[in-house]
Amino acid sequence: MEDFDDVAVLGAAHRLVEQARGVVGAYAGPLAPVRIDQVTELLTEAGCHVETFTFQSDTVAMVLPRCDGVYPILINRAAEHTDRVFALRHELAHVMAGDVDGPVFLANEGYMAPEERVADLFALADLVPAWWIAEVRRGNTPWREVKRQIALAVAEYAEWWPPQRFGDRAELRLRLYREHGV
């Protein structure tokens, strides 16, 4: 089992959330998930250009290196709506984090790379918000059950994920809540 630096991943995701809040204060806040127009505002501020069309490949989304002054984010129209909602936030995180030296695909392989975990966590901070986790936790629901419920919530956005990715992200999302209050 690879030894991941979870502290760094959590810290990086938290910084990205704070950075996003500098533009859209509601990101991952009490009214999260934010509206699509607020996501658009974040994408515009980060210098992204979004194109949606039906891919030939099985990829949900990708972000390409800066071209003509913008970062092209490509979203597969054939993907489920919930996948696309997740993908926009995920690819935005890559751009904000400065990860885009080459094409970055949202797909099954390579998902345990630190930058992929940070990007997923940034998206989940808004899509599985802290207020919802607090509601699940109300009544002293055991943390293990809270984590299981987070995993089920994550599944709504990315049912196609491998189980290890579910486990890792649910764990990270819960830690972001408990250790960073996000």
């Binding site: 919930t82 509601e135 995993a151 089920l152 189980p163």
Partner: protein, 170 residues
């Protein structure tokens, strides 16, 4: 056995009382439990969300929302879900009834958080990323084409890239 708190296993009056009225009034824990039972029945039946949605006559997104506790289906819809899954509406509503022992036995399997996602495992294992690289490059080129065309003429380098990808030289 899942380490669920007692309040999640009971069937408060609110569950029965608010079915068919406003699911938003139902406590989150109750919605989550109802959703969990819908998912369990669906998976036992071997149905995808899309397949169940088609049988019930709703969007797959609605199934996802119910299963994750976002909301609760109307009483009539609940009956249709139960019928499609071969279970009882009573079990979905309260956790009681003929399906409970089976569900409990499944939960007791290994207590693993993700044991209910076997279907996902099988799906992912059946996927082969081989052959996707070239298609991804073509997708990237198509995305660039759309973006650059909207901004003006397509530059020469795009055609060169396209030719290389199509001929396997990139």
């Amino acid at each position: 056995m899942l380490n669920t708190s007692d309040n999640l296993h009971t069937a408060p009056a609110a569950v029965n009382g608010f079915f068919g009225i406003f699911s938003g009034h139902m406590a989150t824990d109750d919605r989550l439990q109802v959703g969990h039972r819908i998912r369990k029945l669906r998976e036992r039946r071997g149905l995808s969300r899309e397949e169940l949605a088609e049988r019930v006559g709703v969007h797959a997104g609605s199934i996802a929302r119910w299963e994750t506790g976002g909301s609760v289906p109307h009483a009539y819809t609940l009956e249709r879900i139960a019928e499609a899954c071969g279970g009882s509406a009573e079990y979905i509503r309260t956790g009681a009834g003929g399906d409970e022992p089976v569900a409990a036995a499944e939960e007791a399997g290994d207590g693993d958080v993700f044991s209910s996602l076997d279907a996902v495992v099988r799906f992912v294992e059946g996927m082969a990323p081989r052959g996707q690289e070239r298609l991804r490059k073509l997708d990237a080129l198509e995305g660039l084409r759309r973006m650059l065309t909207a901004r003006g003429a397509l530059p020469d380098w795009w055609y060169e890239l396209k030719e290389r990808v199509e001929n396997g030289r990139l």
